[in-house]
């Protein structure tokens, strides 16, 4: 079964003009329908439904205009717009289904690739041009070089997009040394003012907008034994410890403190840090402890940081400890 002979006949009649896809052979399960034949009861019903849909759409559009004019109401606007669009859509689909030809048509699928002759003719023409280009080797070399140089040169303005990422990633304003650790409104903090068993988000004095320096001040209970890292034994004041609030995974603020077990949880990706073990990660994707801030008291009894965090805060990067 290569093709329906009748298809061929109809084409022979006038090959140049009537090359429309021929109707399918009678093998089709669905007899051809032109839509003209549907002047039955079903057809009448369908026409009425489609017309109703269009009419409902009109009402929807009208309602939309009124609602808008009267001050607007999001839910009504959405519903009425849906009615207006849906009415048109339903009407068109019913129209197409009942009153447009639904006959299946067969179209030949011609091979996509060109014949060998055409390909060769193309190759010949291209090579004819190519060889005339190739004969000027000096021009090819210098012209190509010029384009490459230009391409390189136009890359340079990309540099304007941002500053060099040097030390900024590795230091916070606390590096200044002996800065007070203050609340968001800039007020200094005494250890005894901290809530028992909770935390306060603190900042370097004068830099309460520094996105790399939000700090967790946690006052531990008397019965909790904090295990400091080597060399950080004196970074704690009055059972108050300070850690960077930025998760070492993806930099989210580690905002959930489960005081009774002394664990910090990052709500973004569920990294969990054991505060008593110097905020060592114990679950989730974070691989490094939260950086610790060396605390002390100034003469007036307010908390200060004697230096910067123990490590760069926030997410890792390739030369973080270089």
């Amino acid at each position: 079964m290569t093709s329906d002979p009748r298809t061929d006949d109809s084409r022979v009649a006038d090959e140049n003009i009537d090359d429309r896809p021929a109707l399918r052979s009678p093998a089709s399960q669905h007899p051809p329908q032109t839509g003209e034949a549907v002047l039955t009861k079903r057809g009448e019903r369908a026409e009425r439904s489609a017309a109703t849909a269009f009419f409902v759409s009109m009402l929807g559009a009208l309602g939309l205009a009124v609602v808008y004019w009267e001050g607007g109401q999001p839910q009504l606007e959405g519903i009425l717009l849906a009615v207006a669009l849906g009415g048109i859509g339903t009407g068109i689909v019913l129209w197409a289904k009942h009153f447009m030809p639904s006959d299946e048509v067969e179209e030949d699928r011609h091979p996509l690739e060109s014949t060998e002759e055409v390909m060769e003719a193309y190759a010949t023409d291209f090579e004819a041009g190519e060889s005339s280009l190739r004969s000027r080797r000096l021009l090819i070399a210098t012209g190509g070089g010029a384009c490459a140089a230009l391409g390189l040169a136009v890359l340079f303005p990309i540099r304007s997009l941002g500053p060099r990422p040097g030390r900024d990633l590795k230091r916070t304003p606390f590096a200044e040394g002996n800065l007070r650790v203050v609340r968001e409104d800039g007020s200094p903090i005494r250890p005894e003012n901290l809530p028992d068993d909770g935390f306060v988000t603190a900042w370097p004095d004068g830099h309460t907008d520094a996105a790399d320096a939000p700090t967790l001040l946690i006052r531990l209970r008397e019965d909790q034994e904090f295990r400091p890292r080597e060399g950080r034994e004196d970074w704690t004041v009055d059972n108050v410890v300070a850690f960077s609030k930025l998760c070492t995974h993806a930099g989210c603020p580690v905002g959930l403190y489960q005081a009774e077990i002394g664990q910090l949880l990052c709500p973004c990706h569920q990294s969990t840090f054991d505060v008593l073990d110097s905020c060592r990660p114990i679950f989730g994707p974070a691989a490094r402890s939260l950086p610790q801030l060396p605390l002390a008291l100034d003469r007036e009894g307010y908390l200060i940081a004697t230096g910067d965090f123990s490590d760069p805060t926030g997410p890792g990067f390739w030369d973080r400890d270089r």
């Binding site: 959405g78 859509g89 048509v105 941002g162 995974h249 691989a287 890792g316 990067f317």
Partner: protein, 504 residues
């Protein structure tokens, strides 16, 4: 009702009969008098397009419900453009600080960026602004969803095979652009949730070895939060990406027209023909109807179902975060991958490879890389370099179907991992236990579902009496199928007794 005996030519009168009587008025009206004819004549005199236009009218489209999913994506894109243009008239992508004075009382007097304030104004003080914003957001969700389902359809039916590899590649590019533009879109509003999303984007960018620090600094205009990121994302979101999408979409459709649509095997449907409805008028009308219906569904969703209520999140503060921070659904698999990744960090040559690199860059790169390469990989493995215009049924290709199902399972589990905290809260489970479950499931479930799919394919094709690809050359299948859809109904006399499908 016309019978099938009627000669074909009688079904459709020859084109352009002159002087046909107008059915309504009874008046004879020459086609030259009709406005559409005059317009066509006007254009043709200047461009000579009649032949081309006629070919377009008679273009044949095979009909199958699954072929309209790609169309759905197209219509979502149109809705995105229309609603998006409206939003640009009111949105101000500026990080300049301002004090909110709009009509949403809980935030009055709060200091925030112009971006967030104008989004609030758009939602509360611009008439029809909120419904447009919500339709835009819903359309974005549905846009990516229909692309993904369309991709799955093309994958499982083998419609990506030669000669359609190029269109597969363009389609994957469109998927990537749709995902990124959705992400950029909801990152513009500078609410607490979107700011958290931007921070994670920053961290993932930062995690790329060697170039990460520079890339992050250049993209954000400095260290996070960066002064420039919202303005930049805005230009990318409303101009750059949509323009590229339009170009690729045009190419995608032009290639479909050039190559003609694939079709499922069936009576009279062969590799060398295409059977379906003519474009004009039925198919065009149905397509137009579908467009309006898509718009209707999106309008309903946008009006009735609240989405991204930014006023509840508040303005972005770098030290704050809300729990149950969930991205839009199409980012869920990446977020899930970030979550279930164990806390490993690798050191190589004295440098660090941060943890987010593996799920955020490597997995995403592998995902899209494999998607791009799939048609070529499959052709290489099967050695099948023939043209294919007839679609496979998934059961005919047990290995491909199994791999597809396993892959989908993998991403569904990652997606669930991204919702672990919400699931834990909803069902009162331990989030750690849930994440551990997903860690194992992401490795164990795909082979399992893949195996089940493989067995199902084998059983189903055995029941059909249709040999699977491993038993018969592909081009034989349509010929066999033509003689009976189910073997138990009409035993096939022509073909040799179908080999019983292997039972193991």
């Amino acid at each position: 009702m016309a019978t099938t005996e009627t000669p074909d030519t009688a079904e459709r009168p020859p084109a352009a009969p002159t002087g046909r009587p107008d059915r309504r008025t009874g008046r004879r009206k020459g086609p030259e008098k009709l406005l559409t004819h005059r317009a066509a004549r006007w254009v043709d005199t200047r461009l000579g397009t009649a032949n081309l236009a006629r070919t377009a009218l008679n273009k044949v489209f095979p009909d199958h419900w699954s072929f309209m999913i790609g169309e759905l994506a197209l219509y979502c894109f149109v809705v995105l453009l229309l609603t998006g243009v409206y939003l640009t008239f009111f949105f101000d992508p500026s990080t300049e600080l301002t004090t909110y004075t709009g009509s949403y009382e809980p935030l009055q007097g709060v200091e925030m960026t112009r971006a967030y304030a104008s989004s609030l104004d758009l939602s509360f003080d611009v008439r029809a602004g909120l419904v447009m914003r919500q339709i835009h957001h819903w359309a974005a969700l549905l846009f990516v969803a229909s692309i993904v389902v369309h991709l799955a359809r093309v994958f499982f039916t083998g419609a990506f095979r030669k000669p359609r590899e190029l269109n597969w590649v363009i389609g994957v590019l469109l998927l990537i652009l749709a995902i990124f533009n959705g992400l950029f879109g909801y990152s513009l509003l500078d609410d607490q949730l979107s700011g958290t999303g931007l921070r994670i984007i920053y961290s993932i960018t930062l995690s790329v070895p060697v170039v990460g620090t520079w890339a992050a600094s250049l993209l954000f205009g400095g260290e996070f939060p960066g002064p420039d990121i919202i303005e930049r994302l805005y230009v990318i979101h409303i101009l750059l990406v949509p323009a590229i999408i339009v170009v690729l979409l045009t190419a995608h459709l032009a290639i479909i027209v050039r190559q003609k649509h694939t079709q499922f095997p069936g009576p009279g449907r062969r590799e060398d023909n295409v059977v379906g409805e003519r474009m004009w008028p039925t198919y065009a009308a149905k397509a137009l109807g579908l467009f309006f219906l898509t718009g209707a569904v999106l309008a309903f969703l946008g009006g009735v179902f609240q989405i991204n209520p930014i006023w509840l999140y508040g303005p972005f503060e770098p030290a704050d975060v809300s729990s149950a921070s969930q991205p839009d659904w199409y980012m869920g698999w990446l977020d899930g991958a970030l979550r279930i990744m164990p806390g490993w960090e690798v050191r190589a040559f004295g440098y660090e490879v941060p943890n987010p690199f593996f799920p955020g860059v490597l997995l995403a790169g592998l995902t899209f890389g494999l998607l791009f390469a799939w048609p070529f990989l499959e052709a290489r493995v099967t050695g099948d370099h023939a043209h294919h215009h007839l679609d496979d049924r998934p059961r005919q290709r047990p290995v491909r179907t199994a791999l597809g199902v396993a892959t989908l399972t993998f991403y569904v589990i990652l997606f669930l991992g991204g919702a672990a905290d919400v699931l834990a809260q909803t069902f009162g489970l331990s989030v750690n236990a849930l994440l551990w479950t997903f860690r194992f499931a992401v490795l164990l479930a795909p082979p399992l579902t893949g195996w089940v799919a493989y067995r199902l394919c084998k059983e189903l094709s055995a029941r059909d009496g249709v040999p699977t690809a491993s038993q018969v050359r592909v081009r034989d299948i349509p010929r066999r199928l033509r003689h009976g859809k189910a073997a138990d109904e009409a035993p096939d006399e022509e073909s040799p007794a179908p080999a019983p499908a292997e039972m193991s």
